[in-house]
């Protein structure tokens, strides 16, 4: 559950950039003949809405209505009592509250005269909510559209890059400390929570699972403002050889990463090191956009031949599955350039302020 710092700081992302994000989406809507875009979010997945407004849905669900012209409006089932806070921590000025989304959308959009309302990234909308909207918007042409807001988030802006570097540096340093010898799984997670929330992270998803040979697999996903960073580390393990092999495989995959590289190519690069894993272990090498880390990339399509986009921030994971069902992973967040990838979750990475 989201319970970390929520803040809107114009020194981090200037007001002009917030306006340009909405304007850029509105241009795409106009080009596509869309009068109003509706974007759904819930407490676990609301980054499209945050990208456009900085709003954090810390509980329940919400819909952002973005007209092709005019101000975005947030539709929520939460009480108007929280509107003041929402306005304080977001760029929103227009917020509406009601019992259900159908009524809210109908009241906001009014009777349609053949205009087009598009549900962005419609495959991820709860089908019941989408149906409710369709039923309520008489006179409107309700259509489905691509994930336009997600697409805009895939390559970070300059201010976003600065925040990603800062968040990743903090996370890398904290996770390195939590992976030190002698800590229990609970202690590792506690150390991560303390370090990252004290540093102003909004959300922390940390797991510490015991793997084979006394090795603990520590995985930490953190949300810094609305951006995601991740690192996975192996702790303990004594004499076992496979943790070092997995780390070498991760290093090789990161070294091979650059714009245009595919997961298949990363796997190839990691292969010599992965061959040193126990014969009955199954290895997987994959990458996921930071923009998809709210869901671990599990709702996006990542075919093996999908190239790494230039300028993107991605998480590269090398994971081993053992015959008893346990998993262990090493993962890094990297910035993808034309000539290589910059690892930003390293323990020694300087944290910009």
């Amino acid at each position: 559950m989201k319970r970390g710092l929520v803040v809107l700081d114009p020194a981090e992302i200037p007001e002009r950039e917030w306006r340009e994000r909405v304007t850029a989406l509105q241009r795409r809507l106009a080009d596509g003949g869309i009068d109003v875009a509706l974007i759904y979010g819930d407490v676990s997945r609301s980054d499209d809405i945050a990208y456009l407004t900085n709003l954090c849905i810390y509980w329940n669900e919400g819909i952002l209505a973005v007209p092709a012209q005019g101000e975005p409006v947030f539709l929520t089932k939460l009480s108007p009592r929280v509107f003041g806070w929402m306005r304080l921590v977001s760029t929103l000025s227009e917020i509406r509250s009601g019992r259900n989304f159908g009524e809210l959308a109908a009241k906001e959009l009014g009777a349609g005269t053949g205009g087009t309302v598009a549900l962005l990234d419609s495959g991820l909308w709860p089908a019941a909510v989408a149906d409710e909207i369709r039923d309520a918007l008489a006179g409107w042409n309700v259509t489905e559209a691509d994930a336009l807001a997600r697409e805009a988030r895939l390559v970070p802006s300059g201010p976003e890059l600065a925040l990603l570097r800062q968040g990743a540096g903090l996370l890398g340093r904290t996770v390195a400390g939590a992976a030190a010898d002698g800590l229990s799984p609970s202690d590792r997670v506690a150390a991560v929570e303390r370090g990252l929330r004290d540093a102003g992270f909004l959300d922390v998803l940390a797991t510490a699972h015991d793997g084979p040979d006394g090795v603990t697999s520590l995985r930490v996903t953190g949300q810094y403002r609305y951006l995601w960073v991740h690192a996975s580390r192996l702790a303990g393990g004594g004499q076992a050889a496979w943790p070092a092999a997995l780390r070498r495989a991760s290093d090789a995959a990161v070294a091979a990463a650059r714009a245009g590289t595919t997961a298949a190519r990363l796997t190839e690069a990691a292969r010599p090191a992965l061959d040193a894993l126990p014969a009955d272990a199954v290895a997987d090498v994959r990458w996921v956009h930071q923009a998809d880390m709210a869901t671990g990339g599990e709702y996006a399509a990542y075919p093996a031949d999908l190239p790494l986009p230039p300028g993107s921030a991605v998480v590269i994971t090398v994971e081993a599955a053992f015959p008893d069902g346990r998993h262990a992973a090493v993962a890094e967040t990297v910035l993808v350039g034309a000539d290589g990838a910059e690892r930003i979750t390293g323990a020694g990475v300087e944290v910009p302020r």
Binding site: R3, G4, R45, P126, S186, T295
Partner: protein, 387 residues
């Protein structure tokens, strides 16, 4: 969310087949009464209670499912392969498979084999169209209905096994609140309080936590996620803190002053404490949520603060607890009966002009003798340091 393998000492070690069988029997009886041939529990990341009910396992996948046929073994599915070990290791469900959200073959294949005439989906209201379309495609002749209420009903009355689990959460509740009180001091930002609480409860094996907070004086109207606001001497800092341990959530609502409490803050506490006690006094098997809410609100009305029990100032007078943190709302007008062994928090949290928003409440179990408080933290207005 956070989970880990820190099970030693936290009580989630051995699968209890009697509890598992009891749950499956309860749900299958309800399925039969509603003419369901199968039930599919869907869990998005923020509503995993029904999958947990059948698996007793902490899962982390973006989409997880438990499939309960009218008879035969329950099976489970996750978009995160690492979940399969967690599910199988708990022993309640051993038939589990990884799925791709874009082609969940293991799940749709099983459903295709079952071909239920009528399928209930718990949290059908939250099922993404991507997945809903694939269910409909593989079950063209099946009537698919929501089973969310069915599962809410099944979970309402806790077994002794569950009550025992919930009692154990008190250790995290107490440690979390103590960490909160210990860290409060002038100059500390709100979010640093959360960091201290999280470290304390995660060190005890808590999987997750739901927490809202507010600090300040009588201008405070409600709680939110933490801000950069720094505490000042004389502030009252309010929280609802809800650790999840071994699947079960348990909430505490308390307020602490930064330094000595003012007379107004004490008067405010006295009013809210009287309301909590009135709510508790109303508890007995078969009482309704409305009755418990009205008992609390009557205290405010009798003292001339009745308007502050409306939705302009507050939400609920409490809510159910269990594998989800916010179940049956305790509000006037909700005629849901609260049977023996239902668990809910009584919290009359609201704004009044006395000292601003005040937060106070304890989780209770319904017993034949009345309300049994499930936490050990003293119900008082705490006073923090002014270091």
């Amino acid at each position: 969310m956070t989970d880990h393998d820190g099970r030693a000492g936290t009580g989630a070690a051995d699968p209890d087949t009697a509890e598992r069988d009891l749950r499956q029997r309860k749900v299958r009886d309800a399925m039969a009464a509603q003419g369901l041939d199968a039930l599919l529990a869907f869990a998005p990341p923020w509503r995993r209670e029904n999958v947990r009910y059948f698996t007793d396992a902490p899962v982390t996948g973006t989409a997880t499912f438990a499939l309960v046929p009218a008879d035969g073994p329950v099976s489970a599915y996750s978009t995160r392969p690492a979940d399969l070990h967690a599910i199988a290791a708990h022993g309640w469900v051993t038939d589990c498979a990884a799925i791709d959200a874009h082609a969940p073959a293991a799940l749709t294949g099983r459903l295709g084999d079952l071909r239920p005439a009528r399928l209930g989906v718990a949290h059908y209201e939250l099922l993404p169209r991507l997945l809903a379309d694939q269910l409909r495609a593989v079950l063209p002749g099946t009537e698919i209905v929501s089973a969310t209420r069915l599962m809410d009903g099944a979970r309402l009355v806790k077994s002794d096994w569950e009550i025992d689990r919930m009692r154990r959460v008190d250790a995290a509740v107490a440690a979390g609140w103590q960490a909160f009180v210990d860290v409060v001091e002038p100059g500390l930002p709100e979010y640093a309080i959360v960091a201290a609480v999280e470290a304390a409860i995660k060190g005890l094996g808590a999987e997750d936590n739901f927490m809202l907070i507010a600090s300040g004086g009588d201008e405070v109207r409600g709680m939110t996620a933490p801000s950069p606001r720094v505490l000042e001497r004389g502030d009252m800092v309010r929280t609802e803190l809800t650790p999840q341990l071994n699947g079960y959530w348990l909430q505490i609502c308390r307020s602490v002053t930064v330094g000595a409490a003012s007379d107004a803050q004490r008067r405010s506490f006295d009013l809210f404490n009287e309301a909590v006690e009135a709510g508790m006094a109303a508890v007995r098997p078969g009482v309704t949520a409305h009755d418990v809410a009205r008992a609390q609100n009557d205290v405010f009305r009798a003292r001339g603060y009745g308007e502050y029990c409306t939705s302009q100032y507050t939400r609920v007078r409490g809510h159910g607890h269990g594998l989800h943190l916010d179940e049956t709302p305790i509000i006037e007008g909700n005629e849901t009966e609260l049977p023996e062994n239902a668990v809910f928090i009584i919290h009359p949290n609201t704004y009044t002009p006395i000292a601003g928003y005040h937060v106070l409440g304890d989780p209770v179990r319904v017993t034949p003798a009345g309300a049994e408080v499930l936490i050990s933290t003293e119900r008082k207005l705490f006073e923090g340091a002014t270091r």
